[in-house]
Amino acid sequence: MRWLRLVRAELRKLTTTKLPWGFLAVLVVLAGLDGAVVIWGTDFDGSKTFISTAEDQASLMAFAANAMIGTSLFGAIAVAREYGHNTVVPTFLTSPRRYRAVLAQLTAVMLAGGLLGLIGESLVIGAVAGTLPFTDYGFLVSAGVTAQLLLASTCAGAVGAGLGAGIGTVIRNLGGAVTTAVVVLFILPPLLVQLINDAASWIPDTLTRVVAGVDDQVGVPAALAVLAGWAIVPALLGLLAVQRRDVV
């Protein structure tokens, strides 16, 4: 009950600043770009084969990787600014058992991240479906695949937000947290692939494509589990970091 109160407070924190609206605006812009690509984009030969099959359309609409990157920034900003503005002080005064407060914060940020992922994917699907009538092709993706795309982006959004929140808790500085999130999602995966060949199947980009159903390098349950690991590791580091650290 007490923990649910903390989650409610954290959700109110997220909805009472302009941060989520900024991210929603970015999602609208990205969906608009997808729509523009459908209308005006062509392949090298001038044709529109990139939207000619259900698989091509699903691949175009697969938003999960973008959702993960975007929400990792969202999570990092949402948590690191708590330290920047000292609002973590009343949080820890209300909940001196800090793991409860941090778990509540992670939960709220992941819920918001999941919602952003879902909204982002919905907007993209809407944009693609809404612009296809301006081409020679109809909307070919089945309801099942559409649902899987939505589910994948929701999961990826939640995971990305958890990853960002964990990093924000450890780093605390806004610029440092955002930079670290970018490094973890843009620079670390290719480095891992160079060092370990098999790692290509387990980096976020591949995992989100598997969950979205547009790649089959690994099974969906394994992909979901490893994807969750990308959030769990930084979240655990964050939980450990706050236990004895002075709030100054």
Partner: protein
């Protein structure tokens, strides 16, 4: 009834000792002022009491319980530390978040906004608030759970005279009702009007602790035409003597009758002999040397600036 206990607390940052084996208690039913120059360790001590910082040694309790062990801390301790708000969030939402987290009814938020005079500005962004308004918001947050204990760091900062008076009345009422009020401030005149007891720290160590009225009586003001000679004799007798004017001394560590008898034996005329009734500022300067040991005196800074021009 909640007594605050600071017991042998030491806190170091690297090689720098910020709080050095500090011990004192803050009693319920009184307003206790926490005084010391900048960097004396006041805020760090408060943070250790509230489990926001970990002591290297020692223990702090609130009513015999560690802060982190309190079941419902918002309803036991109201805290005002440095400003802690998101500038893009309204004052009302700031309080509603704290109310959500601590299970306080939302109606209490409106009551408190009225109480601290922020009702009209409640829906404006806190970043647009003046210093005094931010302080009022912090006070509202401290009072949210109607706690019996208040721990306030510089609560009078930025308040206008009416705000200061309201604050004084509020804290006095809380103490009279049996609450424990622990207030740090550098506004000595404010503490003088407000506090029943003071705890004075300097360089992380306890300088003095007690009822303000008792502490005032510990120094004896002496007026004599032979100030230099009497000062020399009283020092030899074991007193601590500070010459405050051509014909006046401030003596501690000697009783009034000892000073009078010593002067009589040496045939030194005494024109005045009384417990010191100077301002808290005078006492503070006496307790802490020149006050702020981290910053040069203002007169020095002015002289340097004039020299540069």
């Amino acid at each position: 009834m909640h007594q605050l206990t600071i017991q042998n607390v030491t806190k170091r940052y690297g090689k720098h000792t910020v709080v050095d084996d500090l011990s004192f208690t803050v009693e319920p039913g009184k307003v206790t002022g926490f005084l010391g120059p900048n960097g004396a360790g006041k805020s760090t001590t408060m943070k250790i009491l509230l489990d926001l910082a970990a002591a290297d040694h020692g223990r702090t309790t609130i009513g015999g319980t560690r802060y982190r062990e309190l079941r419902d801390p918002t309803r036991v301790v109201g805290v005002l530390l440095e400003h802690a708000y998101h500038p893009g969030r309204s004052g009302r939402n700031h309080l509603r978040i704290l109310a959500d987290a601590s299970g306080v009814p939302a109606a209490r938020v409106d009551d408190l906004l009225d109480l601290v005079g922020l009702a009209e500005a409640a829906d404006r962004h806190a970043g647009a608030y003046s210093l005094g308004m931010r302080q009022r918001l912090g006070l509202a947050a401290a009072l949210l759970g109607d706690p019996p204990v208040l721990v306030l760091d510089e609560p009078g900062n930025g308040l206008d005279p009416k705000g200061l008076r309201d604050l004084r009345d509020l804290l006095r009422a809380r103490a009279t009702a049996g609450g424990t009020v622990f207030v740090s401030s550098h506004l000595l005149a404010e503490i003088e009007h407000l506090a029943d007891e003071v705890v004075v720290v300097n360089r992380g160590r306890l300088v003095t602790h007690g009822a303000l009225s008792d502490l005032r009586g510990t120094a004896i003001s002496v007026r004599t035409p032979s100030a230099d000679r009497l000062a020399h004799i009283l020092r030899q007798t074991g007193g601590t003597v500070r010459q405050t004017g051509a014909d006046s001394l401030l003596v501690t560590d000697l009783a009034t009758n000892v000073i009078g008898d010593t002067a009589c034996a040496e045939q030194i005329a005494i024109h005045g002999l009384a417990p010191q009734t100077g301002s808290l500022e005078d006492l503070f300067m006496q307790w802490t040397g020149n006050g702020d040991h981290h910053q040069p005196p203002v007169t020095d800074m002015i002289q340097k600036e004039v020299a540069v021009r």
